[in-house]
Symmetry: C2
Subunit: 464 residues, 2 copies
C-alpha cells in the first residue's frame, strides 16, 4: 500500500480550542433584535439557554477552550478520519485530489453530535436537568438524544408529525437512547393544542415544533429545563469548527499546503461552517481558496434570497436575526435532503457571504442523487441526501480541473451517512423524484411577509 | 484527556497476512464428504468456487499473504478501532477493563465486508464476471454488493422473501451499490420455480435461497459466474482473522499483555472466528484465556446440538461438513438477530470446541436486548441484535469480576451496528419480544432427520 487513503489523528492531536470566526470577520454579524427592534441583551435569552451558552453566543474571543470532559466524549468518534477519495478520482479521471472529512462515524451518523455533546455538557454544568428541542426528519433530535444519554440529562424532542409517522427510524434511535419523542403538534403545549384544535390533521412543521420546544422549556416552573438548537446560532457554528481544525492538521499529514476548494452543504449552516471557518480565516489573511456552501435549488436562501432581518421560526418566537432568508413563512418543497429545508442561514455564514468570503451555489435534487450513487459505487460509503449536495459540487470542480488540466485540492465535508435515508434512494431509482426548482412567484410571495421587518446595514469590506 | 478510549492503528500497521487456525489445531477439521460418503476433492468444488479460493479452503498453511489490492480496499475502514468501554465499566462499577473491536465502521456496517472484499477480488482475478449469493436479513448480501461494486463484478442476491418484503433497507443498500436483488424463491431458477408452483405463498428460507444461488452460479453456461458464501467455510474464517490480528496489536498499545476473556456472537461463526482464532493459537501454546462463542438460546447448535456430519443447506446441495448442528431442516424461531439463525457451525470453530479450546454459551433474546440498551446509553453506538449476544456475555463477566474483586481484561467483537435493525428495538421497548427457548422435543425432531448421516470421529486432544 504505497498510497494512503485515510489520514487519522491520535486523540492527543485533537484540537483543544474551538475557533470563533466572529473575531476575524471584517464586519461581525449584526446583533439579534427584539420585538421592539432594538438589540436584545444576553439576559433576554436566559429563560431559553443557560448563561454559559449565551456567553459563547455573544463572544468575539478568537479561541475558546474545549473542556476536557467534552473532548473525552467527542473522542468516542473523533478525530474523524480525513479520506482521500482515490477511487472517485480514478472514476472521474481527474488530476484533482479530493479529500473528504467523514463525519458519519459518530454514533448518530452525522456531524450533529459535535454541538449536541457540547450543549448538553454546558447545560448540565449550569444545573439544568432537561433539554427540549425540535426535529424534522430526526437527525438533530437523535444527536441530542445521544448526547443527553451519555451526559445524563432528560431529553424531550418535538418531531414534525409527518416525519414522526413516515420516517420512524430516527425516532427509534431516540427511544433507544432514552429520549421522549412526541409528534408535533402535540397536546402537551398550549401552542400545540391551539393548532390541533384548529387543524387536527396537520402534518406539522419545523416552525410549530420550535414553538412547542421553546414553550416546554420556558414553561417549566422549576427552572430546570432549557431549549437546544442544532444549527443557525453562533455557538453551534463554534462547536462545529473542530471539523475544520482537524482537517487542517490532516491535510498537512497528507502533504497538502492548502485546499483550492472547501465545500459543504448548507441547511442552517452548521456543517459547512464547521469545516470552512478555519479556512475562511486563512482567506481573510490572504489565502487563495474558493469556499463554497451548497444549497438545494428548492431552498435557495443564499443564491436567491435577500440578506435581511428575519425570525428563525415560523411562529416568530425567536429574535430577529440578520441573515439570508426566504422568509420565515417559506414552505420548502418535499426534497429528501430534509436537513437543508430551512428558510434561513446562520448569521455568521450569512455575513461571510456578504463579505464575499464564500461563494454560494445551488444544486438540483436529481444531480445530487446521481452524484451520491457515483460516490457509493466508488468510495463505498452511502452518503446522506444532504451530503450529496457537497459531493455534486466537488465532482463538478474535479471535472473542471480535468478540463483545465490543473491539479486541484478539493476538500469536502462528508456530513453524514445515508443509512437512515434509503427510501430517498429507492424513490430516485424508481424515477419518482424531481428537481423541485422554485418558481420566482412563490419566492416573491414568501418574501412579501418580511418586507416590513428592520433592514440590516450591508457592511461589506471588499473582494477577497 | 489522560485516559485514551480509542486505540487506532495506522494503515501501515495493518496485518499483511491472514492466520489459518487449521495449521495449529491439534486435530484439524475433518474433510467434507460427497454424496458417496467419501471426502470430496477440490475439483468437485470448481463449478461453485474459483480455484484460488478453493486452495485457501483446503490450505493448512499457517500464514497466508493478503494481496496488496485487498489491503488497499480494506483500508477504507480498517484498521478498525479498538475501544475501551470506559463508560460501561463505570456504569457497571466493575474492576474489569472491557475492550471492543468496532467492526461497525465498514460501509456495510458489519464485519462481513472483510471476506466479501477478499472473495470478490479472488473471483475477479480468476476471471469471473459475476457472483451469486443468498441473504437472509441482508447483512451478507449488502456486504457482497458493496464489494462487487468497488471491485467491478456483477452481483446477484437471492434474498429470503419474508425479509425482502418486511425489511427493505438492506435491499435498498444493495440497489445503491448496483446489485440485482430478487426475492427467493424466484422464477429465475428451476428450484425456485418448483417451490413457487407448489407453495406460491411461501415466505422462503435461507436453504431455498442457497439452492437458487448455487444453481444460478453453476448453471451459467459461459462459466463466468461463481457462488459466494459469507460464513461457515474455512476461507471465510481465514479472511476474518484480520480482526483478531489487529486487536492483538491494539491491546498491546493499550498496555495489556493478554485478554482473560475473548467473546463473540456466533451464527455461522465468522465474526467470532475472526476475533478469536489468533487467541485460540495463543491458548494452544499455553495462554490462559477463556474464549466464548455466544449463540442464541433459540438456535443453540454448540450448546445443545451434536457434533456430526450435516449439510450446510436445507436442500442438501452442499457437501457434508463435520460440525455442531441442529439438523439442516431446523427452522429457528423468529428472533431479531437474523444473522444467528443458522442451523450449523463452521467446521473450524466446531473442531476448536471439540478440542475444548472454546467454551460456548447460549443467551436468551430479552437479556441480550437489555444489554444492548445499556450499551447504547453508555457507549453511544447502537449495536446490532447479533452483537448484543457478545455484549450480554461481556457484561456478565464484568459483573463476575466485580463480585470476585478481580481485574479482568475482556475483549469482545462489536460485529456491527444496529441502525438497520431498529424495528427490533421498537418491538423490545413495546414488550412484544419473548425469549423463544427451544423445546427439547422440537430439537429431537429436527435431529431425527440427520441420524443416518456419516458420523465424524470425535478427535480431542485434551484440556487447555
Amino acid at each position: 500500500m504505497a498510497e494512503i487513503t485515510k489520514f487519522n489523528l491520535e486523540e492527543s492531536e485533537m484540537p483543544r480550542q474551538w475557533y470563533n470566526l466572529a473575531a476575524d470577520l471584517p464586519n461581525p454579524p449584526q446583533p439579534p433584535l427584539g420585538p421592539d427592534g432594538k438589540p436584545i441583551t444576553p439576559d433576554a435569552l436566559a429563560p431559553v439557554f443557560p448563561m454559559n451558552i449565551i456567553e459563547q453566543e455573544v463572544s468575539t474571543q478568537r479561541w475558546i477552550d474545549i473542556p476536557e470532559e467534552i473532548l473525552e466524549i467527542l473522542s468516542l468518534w473523533r478525530p474523524a478520519p480525513l479520506y482521500r477519495a482515490r477511487r472517485l478520482e480514478k472514476e472521474l479521471g481527474t488530476p484533482a485530489r479530493i479529500y473528504y472529512k467523514h463525519e458519519g462515524v459518530s454514533p448518530a451518523g452525522s456531524h450533529k453530535p459535535n454541538t449536541a455533546i457540547a450543549q448538553a455538557w454546558y447545560n448540565k454544568k449550569f444545573g439544568i436537568k432537561r433539554l427540549t428541542t425540535e426535529t424534522g426528519a430526526g437527525q438533530w433530535g437523535s444527536a441530542l438524544a445521544f448526547a443527553c444519554s451519555l451526559i445524563g440529562l432528560e431529553c424531550k424532542v418535538f418531531m414534525v408529525r409527518i416525519s414522526f409517522d413516515q420516517k420512524p427510524f430516527r425516532k427509534l434511535m431516540m427511544a433507544t437512547w432514552g429520549a421522549n419523542c412526541v409528534a408535533s403538534p402535540s397536546p402537551e403545549t398550549q401552542s400545540g393544542r391551539d393548532i390541533l384544535e384548529k387543524t387536527p390533521d396537520t402534518p406539522g412543521s419545523l416552525g410549530i415544533a420550535i414553538s412547542e420546544a421553546i414553550e416546554a422549556a420556558v414553561g417549566d416552573s422549576t427552572g430546570g429545563t432549557r431549549y437546544s438548537l442544532g444549527s443557525v446560532l453562533n455557538h453551534v457554528m463554534l462547536h462545529q469548527t473542530i471539523i475544520g481544525l482537524e482537517a487542517k492538521k490532516q491535510l498537512e499529514k497528507a502533504g497538502e499546503k492548502q485546499p483550492d476548494f472547501v465545500i459543504g452543504c448548507t441547511g442552517g449552516g452548521s456543517n459547512f461552517a464547521g469545516l470552512s471557518f478555519p479556512f475562511v480565516c486563512d482567506k481573510i489573511h490572504g489565502a487563495d481558496i474558493s469556499i463554497i456552501p451548497v444549497e438545494p435549488e428548492s431552498c435557495p436562501k443564499m443564491t436567491r434570497g435577500p440578506f435581511c432581518y428575519d425570525h428563525g421560526d415560523t411562529a416568530c418566537m425567536t429574535p430577529l436575526l440578520a441573515m439570508y432568508t426566504l422568509g420565515h413563512g417559506f414552505v420548502p418543497p418535499p426534497i429528501h435532503a430534509g436537513g437543508l429545508r430551512y428558510h434561513g442561514m446562520a448569521p455568521l455564514v450569512s455575513q461571510a457571504a456578504v463579505e464575499g468570503l464564500i461563494e454560494p451555489r445551488a444544486y438540483p435534487q436529481l444531480k445530487c442523487y446521481e452524484a451520491a450513487v457515483t460516490w457509493a459505487r466508488t468510495e463505498g460509503f452511502i452518503p446522506a441526501p444532504e451530503t450529496s449536495h457537497a459531493i455534486a459540487c466537488a465532482i463538478d470542480e474535479a471535472n473542471n480541473a480535468k478540463e483545465e488540466g490543473k491539479e486541484r485540492v478539493i476538500l469536502l465535508n462528508w456530513s453524514g451517512h445515508g443509512l437512515m435515508d434509503l427510501m430517498g434512494y429507492d424513490a430516485y431509482f424508481q424515477g419518482k423524484l424531481s428537481d423541485h426548482a422554485l418558481p420566482q412567484g412563490d419566492l416573491d410571495k414568501s418574501l412579501e411577509s418580511i418586507k416590513d421587518l428592520p433592514k440590516p446595514e450591508v457592511r461589506k469590506s471588499g473582494k477577497w
